[in-house]
């Protein structure tokens, strides 16, 4: 039973991560920085509760806020570039964050011994949950309430004017700016909101696992973050959730049946999904690109699929 609670907790945290990537992917930007914001949230929230004795609510809030502010700060220069360069810029940012935490040593003395990030050894002793006697089920409820909350906010956003403008920017930047949409504002706001969500997810993560270290926050995590919305289908929030369940369930449950080979098959599975359903699991009707690509390959712009005369 505990195992399943743990699995559901992980799925919840990863769903938040996927939702944060969903925001920025909506404006057409591919960002591998979510892992970095996740890390910032994780360390910040951990430091606030374990080292400064704050309670969980404010810590999570501040963690999300700081992650969001940093996202906005680096969003301005980073979002001036597009495509591959943005991928690299965000990758570089995420690596910088990881390396900074790898080198960060800052401990305070508590009655239980020194607590704080200890460079490569990580940051242990984030014991807010056990210290306050939260049960696994209560943690699970918290996580999923947050997931539901974030999803509702994003759903409302998507249906609002902001969502339409975000999508317009994602569809065709030239047309969007000619229609009067401020590209930078749209992209940076999506980035900032995504950063806040990732920071929140990170804060929960660090409390759930009680010990974090730089190796938790590699580029691979960021890749997972964007994998969820892409595989789930960008139009649908629910798709992201399903993708997380599918992927994490496979990875963790699959350990039982496939043993060591699960990671290999995992990569192959992603490949297969992309080949069969390039627009994601929860989107347009089934169409096998293997048979369609020659006939239907649209002529013209790769990003928008628009027709060029």
């Amino acid at each position: 039973m505990d195992f399943y609670i743990g699995l559901l907790q992980v799925i919840g945290v990863h769903t938040l991560l996927g939702l944060s990537a969903w925001c920025i992917l909506h404006t057409g930007q591919v960002s591998l920085a979510q892992g970095g914001f996740f890390a910032i949230g994780a360390y910040t929230a951990g430091m606030l509760t374990a080292m400064a004795g704050w309670s969980l609510g404010p810590s999570l809030f501040i963690a999300a806020l700081i992650a969001s502010l940093i996202a906005i700060a680096i969003g301005f220069p980073a979002l001036r570039v597009k495509g591959l360069m943005l991928v690299v810029a965000t990758t570089a940012f995420a690596e910088i964050v990881r390396l900074v935490f790898f080198n960060l040593k800052w401990q305070v003395q508590t009655p239980n011994g020194p607590i704080g990030p200890d460079g490569g050894l990580g940051f242990g002793g984030i014991r807010y949950f056990p210290a306050n006697a939260w049960s696994g089920l209560e943690i699970l409820t918290l996580i999923w309430c947050l997931v539901a909350g974030v999803m509702s906010v994003l759903w409302l956003l998507d249906r609002s004017r902001i969502g339409t403008l975000w999508r317009a920017v994602g569809e065709d930047e030239v047309a969007a700016q000619s229609a009067g949409i401020n590209l930078t504002a749209a992209k940076v706001s999506a980035f900032g909101i995504g950063g806040a969500i990732a920071g929140l997810a990170g804060g929960i993560f660090s409390h759930n696992t009680t010990h974090i270290e730089h190796g938790n926050f590699t580029i691979l995590l960021a890749t997972f973050a964007i994998a969820y919305p892409i595989i789930g289908g960008l139009k649908s929030l629910l798709g992201t959730l399903i993708a997380v369940i599918f992927i994490q369930g496979f990875l963790i449950e699959g350990l039982r049946f496939l043993g060591d080979w699960r990671s290999l098959l995992f990569g192959a599975m992603i490949l297969a999904i992309m080949l069969i359903r390039p627009t994601g699991l929860l989107s347009a009707p089934l169409r096998l690109p293997l048979f369609n690509s020659k006939k239907n390959a649209p002529i013209g712009n790769a990003k928008t699929g628009a027709h060029h005369a």
Partner: protein, 258 residues
């Protein structure tokens, strides 16, 4: 309303636009014509802000708009359509119009907005423009799935709904049959009756001569003629540019002296 002064744009060695001057008067429909490669689309891109000029200025309502980004120019009052249609393909017809409309009263792309007050006004206008382009029955269809003519109409409506007083139409009739061109003629007149000023770039001579008040002719990035449609039609240099002339020398002379 809009003045172009000594505008030039070079791409490496290519002088796409080589020092042109003209102005667009309020309420008029000005045609911009010229053979292929004469710099018409580049001029539109320069006015819209997608390219920065190598030299020269663009002055809109008395203000030099050099430093303004494309979206700022759109908000200031210059809207445009594209030669190769650029719609928001995965958005519905309604959403395409709504996006362009909604931007008018929101700052920062939606984050600063009056949440309740003007939504209904915007929706009414969107409905009106849906009717304008005749697509009410297709309002929820994805823009990418529309027929070519419908896409053109939608793009025109999207430019119009922005409320901009100046519309730059970049070859809106390209690929249309004569019925559709008549339809386009009617729409352009309707827009002018609503008080808009229009710069029309076109190849279809009947459309240009029929609907434009004045015409500017470009060739090799330079202005070679300007005036009423009938005057321009008679101009020897214009004829030489389009049709060639008796001797090649005369043709080159005409182009170089423009």
């Amino acid at each position: 309303m809009l003045k172009v002064e000594n505008l030039a744009r070079y791409f490496g060695g290519i002088k796409a636009v080589d020092g042109i001057d003209f102005d667009i008067r309020r309420g008029e429909i000005l045609g911009l014509i010229g053979p292929n490669g004469s710099g018409k689309s580049t001029t539109v891109n320069l006015i819209a802000g997608l390219y920065a000029p190598t030299t020269g200025r663009v002055i809109f309502e008395g203000q030099d708009i050099q430093k303004l980004l494309p979206h700022e120019r759109a908000n200031l009052g210059i809207a445009r359509t594209f030669q190769n249609i650029r719609l928001f393909g995965q958005l519905s017809v309604w959403q395409n119009l709504w996006a362009a409309r909604v931007v008018r009263e929101t700052g920062w792309s939606g984050l600063k907005q009056r949440w309740f007050s003007t939504a209904t006004q915007g929706k009414l206008e969107t409905e009106a423009y849906l009717e304008f382009c005749g697509l009410e029955h297709k309002r929820d269809q994805l823009a990418a799935n529309l027929a070519f003519g419908e896409q053109r109409r939608l793009e025109l409506a999207r430019a119009a709904i922005s409320g901009a007083p100046l519309l730059l139409l970049d070859e809106p009739a390209a690929g249309m049959n004569s019925e559709e061109i008549d339809d386009l003629d009617q729409r352009i007149r309707k827009l002018r009756d609503q008080g808009k000023t229009i710069l029309l770039i076109e190849h279809h001579m009947e459309l240009v001569m029929g609907v434009c008040d004045r015409v500017v002719v470009l060739n090799f990035g330079r202005k070679i003629a300007e005036g009423k449609p009938e005057e321009v039609q008679q101009d020897a240099q214009v004829q030489a540019a389009y049709l060639g002339s008796d001797s090649d020398d005369a043709f080159m002379q005409a182009a170089l002296q423009a």
